[in-house]
């Protein structure tokens, strides 16, 4: 069961984990990303490419479901204006085996960081705005999955 959600709404990680757990596998992994605390940060603006985003996330989930035996995958990503400590992203995976659940969760985050059409703009107290730059470590992490199960 693959669930994809892209919206401005907040989400409840615990409720999402329970939904995946209720599918009956013994192992549920999750990753929650939130706006990191920074005294000078006023807000984060998450832009995306609406015509492409959900399909891009679905493709990542499909790839994960091919690599590992999963009972369920949930990917939630917020867009719009977010404050410090607001939740941004949730990935939750369920499997019979913990390593499959954890690896799939990690894979989905690594792919999401490099191929899903989201862009973050940081809005600072002094009024300046900066678009977040891509990080080599994210590219490296995504590249490492090539050929791995």
């Amino acid at each position: 069961m693959i669930t994809i959600s892209v919206s401005q709404k907040d989400f409840d990680s615990g409720a999402e984990i329970r939904k995946i757990a209720d599918l009956g596998g013994g192992a549920v992994a999750s990753f929650t990303g939130q706006v990191r605390g920074d005294a000078d940060l006023v807000a984060l603006e998450l832009e995306h490419y609406p015509a492409m985003t959900e399909q891009a996330l679905r493709t990542i989930a499909d790839d994960a479901a091919e690599k590992w035996a999963l009972h369920g995958i949930t990917i939630i990503h917020r867009v719009g204006r977010l404050q410090v400590n607001d939740q941004i992203v949730l990935v939750c995976t369920g499997s019979d085996h913990r390593q499959a659940a954890i690896s799939a969760c990690s894979f989905i985050m690594d792919k999401l960081k490099t191929v899903a059409p989201f862009w973050k703009k940081e809005i600072w107290k002094d009024g300046s705005e900066t678009w977040v730059e891509e990080r080599q470590s994210d590219l490296d992490a995504a590249a490492e999955w090539k050929g791995r199960a």
Binding site: A51, M52, V115, A116, P117, E133
Partner: protein, 87 residues
């Protein structure tokens, strides 16, 4: 015959161009994403400024990520944007 193509922009590409999209007529002889970028830069200095450093641009054709050498073929929508930074 020249086809019509919608071009959509995101993040700082959109901000610097000052508009979210364009509709253009693809001229004969332009067959790839990279070729189209070259053509646009020749047409209009505003493109040339924003697209100056190609290494900072990413592309999607009909919502699929592609490289600059991808054929336009009968695509309806080209997206031009910076590297993604979600998650």
């Amino acid at each position: 015959m020249a086809g019509e193509l919608d071009i959509v922009y995101f993040a700082w590409v959109k901000e610097r161009l000052g508009r979210p999209e364009d509709r253009i007529a693809v001229p004969d002889g332009v067959s790839t994403v990279g070729g189209l970028i070259d053509y646009l830069c020749q047409q209009d200095a505003s493109y040339d400024q924003v697209f100056a450093d190609r290494s900072r641009l990413r592309f999607a054709l009909d919502q699929q990520l592609v490289h600059a050498d991808a054929k336009l073929d009968n695509s309806r929508e080209l997206a031009i944007f910076p590297p993604v930074t979600g998650g």
